[in-house]
Amino acid sequence: MLTAHELQDRLVRGDCSSVEIVQELLAAIQEVDGTIRGYLSVDAEAALAQARAADAARATGRGGPLLGIPVAIKDVLNVAGQPCGCASKMLRGYVAPYDATAVAALRAAGAVLLGRTNMDEFAMGSTTENSAFQVTRNPWSLEHVPGGSSGGSAAVVAAGEAVAALGSDTGGSIRQPAGFCGCVGLKPSYGRVSRYGLTAFASSLDQIGPMTRDVRDAARLLGVMAGHDPHDSTSLPAPVEDYEAGLPVSGGLRGMRLGMPREYFGGGLDTEVEAAVSAAVEECRRQGAEVVEISLPHTRYAIATYYIVACAEASANLSRFDGVRYGHRTAVAGDATELYLRSRAEGFGAEVKRRILLGTYVLSSGYHDAYYLRAQKVRTLIRRDFDAAFERCAAIVCPVAPTAAYRLGATGGDPLKMYLGDVFTVTANLAGLCGLALPCGFTAAGLPVGLQFLGPALGEARVLRAGRAYEQATAWHTRRAPHAAGMARTEAGGK
């Protein structure tokens, strides 16, 4: 399975065409997606048309890092003319009238928009089992979930059905599925990539990011999408670095000081995950990194804080789905109130309803101060933990999740258990940091284990360097999932 940068090299050399790449992927989808079920929809005709246009542009001398490269898009992002259903019945029939800024950036760079990937409904969940439409399976083990909420994006990249994909990360929704599926996932710092066009779950936490086969592709996609957007007032004006050019050729970890948070390596961490991550830390040391122990004392409040803040914002963000202007509307309603009650009762799934109720509760008068306000204060403390930590180290190295991928159905009856699995990822969102997940080993059962590098706000170049250096020293990212599709033709070098 080739990466975007490898395919781009072939395109430049004329070894293959974009149309051929898209055809390969359509064949792969045909081959495995009936089992994996990572895509909600694939518009083959539109993708081929974009590929033809990319080939034609190349013939006239145009180039670019993503020209002709297919990218799958999580169903939470608006792509003009395509449905954007957020894997919910609530948005059935809604067709996006505009492109998300990140999507427009990919389009402008010549990327081919391949299809829509499955997810937990409105990005709420960690297994993709909360999709209203289908269950996506992990290409490493069909009995396991791909993680979530960007499980579809992770699964199609790992299964060879996409070269790269976009996901969104509110509390780990890019990094955790990337970890579960053995691919690379980057959550940029809050504000690095415009959120305009990303259907909001929790506005102060959401970020769009790439899910790829290696770190270099993640750097490439980030470079295309990052930057200030006048449509998103929270996007950062800082200039965009050339992340890809900044990647090390070798020895990128030499002299880098990495922090290991004491609190992330305690009880509750699966022994196989701990072993793989510890070995990865050892590898970093061998590569010249200095590893120091650090402390993030407010870690134990992170899950509670996250679910209060995220649900509070979600309760308002999801109010707009009311059956009045678009999406699902109940068949019969006597008045406006009944229209809301019925449309929303019918349209939303259980997890979404649970979070709207939680969010409404923590903002209610009488409870607002005890929950929402206190959570905001704790959020500040968590941010300060990281400020202090980054005084002592350049980046933090830690697991992505306490365990490898869950068995299908394992968290179904117990949402709290599922929430606790987010413990190592939610802090980056609460503190506005960037985080990179990449494969660092496998369990005895053959499930991938993810390694995470966390960097300060706007520290993307740093975590990408660390990740690339680790990736170059290891070969985990080159392993193929047993249920991935074959990519014989393109890999053999074209025609």
């Binding site: 996006a96 998300a100 305009y196 066009g197 929270t234 509070a312 707009r320 406006a336």
Partner: protein, 477 residues
């Protein structure tokens, strides 16, 4: 029955649509009267994934209003989400300012029975307007053209005690906002809307009573009548030993009474929290100072300036400055005139009377300020007499044109040539021998009659002073 005497306590919340070209959070036009749902986009329709972008002009106009009203400008303010479900709300939350508004304090100067007074303001904040629900025979519709237009809310302290004060407050507020040029402030057209809070307490008490909120007040008169009715209702309730319940009441202009809309039990829990899609508004001292430098004159400043610059009596200055457009008109006419007081007289009497009769706006009248200045110049130079001037004013008010040209075309110039008038003087004496006798016999009033006869014979064109002088000379011979 209680014999206690009660005092009303009144506070107002006024919503004013700001005159920006585009909406508060998107680029859609704010123009009105367009076909329903034509000035809309994914942002103001609340489509998934859209985000608000602050209209800096709306911030500027709100700060300008605050400066005009003597508010403290908050160097750091923020926006919040106010949640409730209603079909006119695209997102089912409104972006507004909860605890850190743009402007704090300040006041509105009103003229009351005991002279000038200031009604203190609590705050001014900025928020987005909602859409308009429309109800048809078999269905309802929503027009989102208005949704997301910038709306400024001005909250007064509960510091007024009579319906008349409340109306004076609204008039004063409107006057200042018109001076600021931030809004058209038309209650009937809905770009100025007002909610009134009113409670009663025994005279001498300091604690506030339970208030009622009045809605559907779309004219100054409605405010006056609704307050009178509501104060009466509450007073009767209290006298009969009842209690006022906190509730929202709707003014019914036909019935001349307020009716229950909802009680406190039905009140929304708005679940305010900071709007995460917008950064706080941080205004530097330099920015505020720069806007303050461009501040238009306040009504009070204009009154003082009119009095000194045009040597007008205080009364004239007050009448002319009351309405910004009237003051602008006066000033345009008076600036080049040698007789600003005469210009003032014309504006205050003929102009205001005719505006009242025809319902026209002064900005749209046919008679230009330059034409009025010319008319005054012609009168002052004695070229036409005052009757002719009044007639001409009517003519110019209706059709416009140049007074000088009209005078020439119609031969209306005052006859001040003694040679030309002499014949008419002689004719008047000849035809009114009795009056001439009376004058000679010492009856001074007879001269007035004879002068009138000369005016009649000249068809109004004679210079009346000259006519009287010639008559006197002739009769004394």
């Amino acid at each position: 029955m209680s014999a206690a005497r009660y005092e009303a306590v009144i506070g107002l919340e006024v919503h004013v649509q700001l005159k920006t070209r585009s909406k508060m959070f998107c680029g859609c036009a704010t123009s009105f009267g367009a076909e329903p749902n034509t000035n809309v986009c994914p942002v103001c329709l609340g489509y998934p994934g859209t985000m608000p972008v602050m209209n800096r002009e709306a911030i500027r106009l709100t700060v300008l209003s605050g400066l005009m009203l003597g508010c403290r400008i908050n160097p750091r303010s923020k926006f919040d989400r106010k949640s409730y479900f209603y079909p006119d709300m695209p997102k089912n939350y409104q972006i507004t300012q909860y605890d850190q508004p743009l402007c704090l304090g300040g006041g509105v100067e009103i003229e009351g029975a005991s002279g000038l007074a200031t009604v203190p303001l609590t705050r001014i904040h900025l928020e987005e307007d909602v859409a308009k629900n429309m109800h048809f025979a078999t269905c309802s519709g929503v027009d989102f053209n208005r949704a997301g237009s910038p709306l400024m809310e001005i909250v007064s302290e509960p510091a007024m005690h009579t319906p008349e004060q409340a109306v004076a407050y609204l008039q004063g507020l409107k006057q200042t906002l018109m001076y600021a040029g931030v809004s058209d402030c038309n209650l009937e057209e809905g770009n100025m809307r007002c909610d009134v809070n009113v409670s009663l307490r025994p005279v001498g008490a300091t604690a506030l009573g339970t208030k009622a909120e009045l809605k559907n007040l779309n004219s100054f008169k409605s405010v006056l009548l609704a307050l009178r009715a509501e104060i009466g209702r509450q007073e009767q309730l209290l006298r009969e030993g009842g209690r006022v319940v906190q509730e929202t009441r709707r003014w019914d202009v036909e019935a001349g009474a307020t009716f229950l809309m909802r009680t406190k039990e039905d009140a929304h829990d708005y679940r305010y929290f900071p709007e995460p899609d917008l950064m706080p508004v941080v205004l530097s001292e330099q920015q505020i100072a720069e806007w303050a430098r461009g501040l238009p004159e306040t009504p009070r400043q204009r009154r003082a300036r009119f009095a000194s610059e045009y040597s007008l009596p205080e009364y004239d200055a007050r009448v002319l400055a009351a309405d910004k457009a009237v003051g602008d008109y006066f000033e345009a006419a008076a600036r080049g005139s040698k007789a600003p007081k005469i210009v003032s007289n014309w504006v205050m009497t003929e102009m205001l009377r005719r505006l009242g009769e025809t319902g026209q706006e002064i900005a749209a009248v046919q008679i230009t300020p330059a034409a009025l200045a010319e008319l005054v110049e012609l009168t002052e130079a004695g070229a036409i007499n005052s009757n002719t001037a009044r007639e001409l004013f009517g003519e110019l008010f209706a059709n416009g044109g140049s007074p000088r040209a009209l005078v020439e075309a119609r031969g209306l110039a005052q006859v001040s040539d003694s040679g030309a008038l002499q014949a008419l003087v002689d004719q008047a004496i000849r035809e009114n021998a009795k009056s001439a006798e009376d004058f000679r016999g010492g009856k001074a009033v007879a001269l007035k009659f004879l002068t009138g006869q000369v005016m009649r014979l000249s068809r109004g064109k004679a210079n009346p002073q000259l006519a009287a002088q010639l008559l006197e000379e002739r009769l004394k011979k």
